[in-house]
Amino acid sequence: QDDPLKIGAAVYGLNAEFMQLWSEAAENHPAVQSGEVDLTVFDGRYDALVQQEQFETMITQGFDAIVFVPIDVEAGATAVQQAADAGIPVVGSNTRVNSDLLTAYVGSDDVQSGRMEAEAVLEKIGCEGGVVILEGPIGQSAQIQRLEGNMQALEACPDVEVLEQQTANWSRAEAQTLMENWLTAHPEGIDGIIAQNDEMALGAIEAIKAADLDVADFAIAGIDGVTDALVAVQNGEMTSILQDAKGQAQGAIDVAINAAREGGHEPLADLWQQYPDMEWADGAKGEYEVPWTPVTEENVGELLEMRQ
């Protein structure tokens, strides 16, 4: 075997659990484990410019392919352009980037998850009452798209009133404070809580507990399936929509290897078996959509097992 392929994974930030799961999965890709691929993960520190600079660094070092999880849809385009100019294929993962130079995108449709979580909440409250929405940082693509999904679901329930809608910046502590204040401002009115990620849903749960209210009286949903949320689902406190970090990461690496080898790579990741709907198609497709998995009391045990 010749020199290992040098693949870089530029992710927007590693301080929170989801991207940590993503990058761990990337490191565990069979090709990385076998030494076929030499993977370097770059922490973008939540800054579009830092990511762009990391692209410059990878270009300097002549990486063979890049997997890209941008902080921002628009700002990522320049980085992709630079890589393309240097002849390095870029595979998007998890978050979209507004560029047609991307070799492929392996991710999940945020609009869909937004709709799914909102539907879960609405179903539980019987399509009537008041809900609040805890949003991600305004302007981020996940926030925009998940909100779009939230709204699609809400349209079907005209009797539901959106009492409050505010960003808690994906943060559990911020969501907890926000929720405490909302519970005061709407002493009776809140029936459902649509949180655009799990961390914020967990914060809301803590706020409810702190106010001596019963979590069971609220319909709460989040997205991502982080470990704490899985536990909360197990306790019957919330609903979560699992975003398959492993599938996204490993799928993207397979596509990246294929692009670096200019075709002919046999995919090694589990996800191609796991999801019957996902078709490898010789790695030539522009988009691979990794399905969402609603976390239910049935599958939560198994999912938690996998986290160990």
């Binding site: 301080n15 929170a16 505010q166 204040n181 803590e206 982080v226 704490d228 160990q308």
Partner: protein, 342 residues
């Protein structure tokens, strides 16, 4: 006491002091009146604007929400009084949170072998970690003359990295009830974070106002050279205040973890800004030697009330940021013009 009078520029401005200590102490608080008035005005406006603002439950909320920043700000007050600054508190919050939580989790993955331990073990660990982080910053500042900004910026970065390493980037969940009680329990209906905050506040008031150590903190900050000539070991005082700030960060980190139910390695980001803001809004001078924890308390409450009030009224996030910025400046401006000379 009443070292803490005021900005030298405004020295003796409008304070009738004749009958000694008592009056002067009152006067020294009177100098906080500006910012206290700002707080009161804000509260009045908010209680008119929103029916829920003044209800008991919301008051408890405000206090609880203020407690973490308040505790950090009290530690920060010690540091700033000596002309220092501690940028690392946010990171130390997270570090102390995850390290202590590892001794208090029932989750087998994250727990330290043998755990979970009774609550005093993680509590001591958290305080110890906080104090150790503070001691490192303090040594750099006091002994090696590294500017406080650089030393604690280094600690900000390093402590965050260590936290993430220690926790593997994941939260430490499933904390024991004993541990969670620090954040969610209550004493006679007063939430624990508020109780702890109150204890810390009273203790710091006592230490700064009535002890030898407190006197020396003011002296070391007001004029380190003169303090040295007067036989005060300025380096030791400097070291101590960073340890105190670290302890406070440790405490705050545990309360935060206990409140949120798991210790998050990304907790506390940018907390230093709010803590410093509370101190400065409260009238403590970044030039050292002048200030008081009472002001810090008011500063922290002001920030807490602004956040709470804007949330209560459902002000949109973007406007919140604009209004928050304006309000903080306006509060200090009100204080400033009142105290200005001539």
């Amino acid at each position: 006491m009443s070292d803490h009078t005021e900005t030298p520029a405004a020295a003796g401005s409008g304070t009738e002091t004749r009958s000694g200590a008592r009056t002067s102490r009152v006067a020294s608080y009177a100098q906080r009146f500006g910012i206290l008035i700002a707080l009161v005005v804000l509260c009045v406006v908010l209680s008119v604007a929103n029916e829920y603002f003044l209800i008991g439950r919301n008051i408890v909320n405000v206090l609880r929400q203020t407690s973490i920043n308040g505790i950090l700000a009290i530690g920060m007050t010690f540091v700033i009084l000596t002309r220092g600054i501690d940028l690392s508190v946010g990171s130390v919050v997270a570090l102390a949170g995850v390290t202590s939580a590892a001794f208090a989790t029932t989750s087998s993955i994250a727990a330290v072998a043998g755990g979970p331990f009774p609550v005093v073990v993680p509590l001591l660990i958290g305080l110890l970690v906080g104090a150790a982080a503070g001691a490192v910053s303090g040594l750099l500042v006091a002994r090696y003359n590294v500017p406080a900004f650089v030393a604690t910026l280094g600690m900000l970065s390093a402590a965050r990295g260590l936290t993430l390493l220690f926790a593997g980037g994941r939260p430490i969940p499933a904390l024991t009830d004993g541990y969670r009680w620090i954040g969610t329990g209550d004493v006679l209906g007063v939430p624990m974070p508020v109780v702890i905050f109150a204890v810390v506040f009273v203790a710091s008031w006592y230490v700064l106002g009535s002890t030898k150590f407190g006197r020396r903190v003011y002296a070391a900050g007001g004029n380190p050279h003169a303090a040295t000539v007067s036989g005060i070991n300025v380096a030791r005082i400097r070291l101590s205040v960073y340890v105190i700030s670290g302890l406070m960060a440790g405490l705050a980190g545990m309360i935060l973890a206990a409140r949120t139910g798991s210790a998050l390695p990304q907790a506390g980001v940018a907390y230093e800004l709010d803590a410093i803001a509370a101190v400065v809004i409260g009238g403590t001078s970044l030039a050292g030697g002048v200030g008081h924890v009472a002001g810090t308390l008011i500063g922290a409450l002001l920030i807490g009330v602004v956040n709470n009030g804007l949330d209560l009224m459902g002000v949109e996030s973007y406007y919140q940021q604009v209004i928050k910025g304006v309000l903080i400046v306006a509060a200090v401006l009100l204080d400033q013009t009142r105290n200005q000379r001539a």
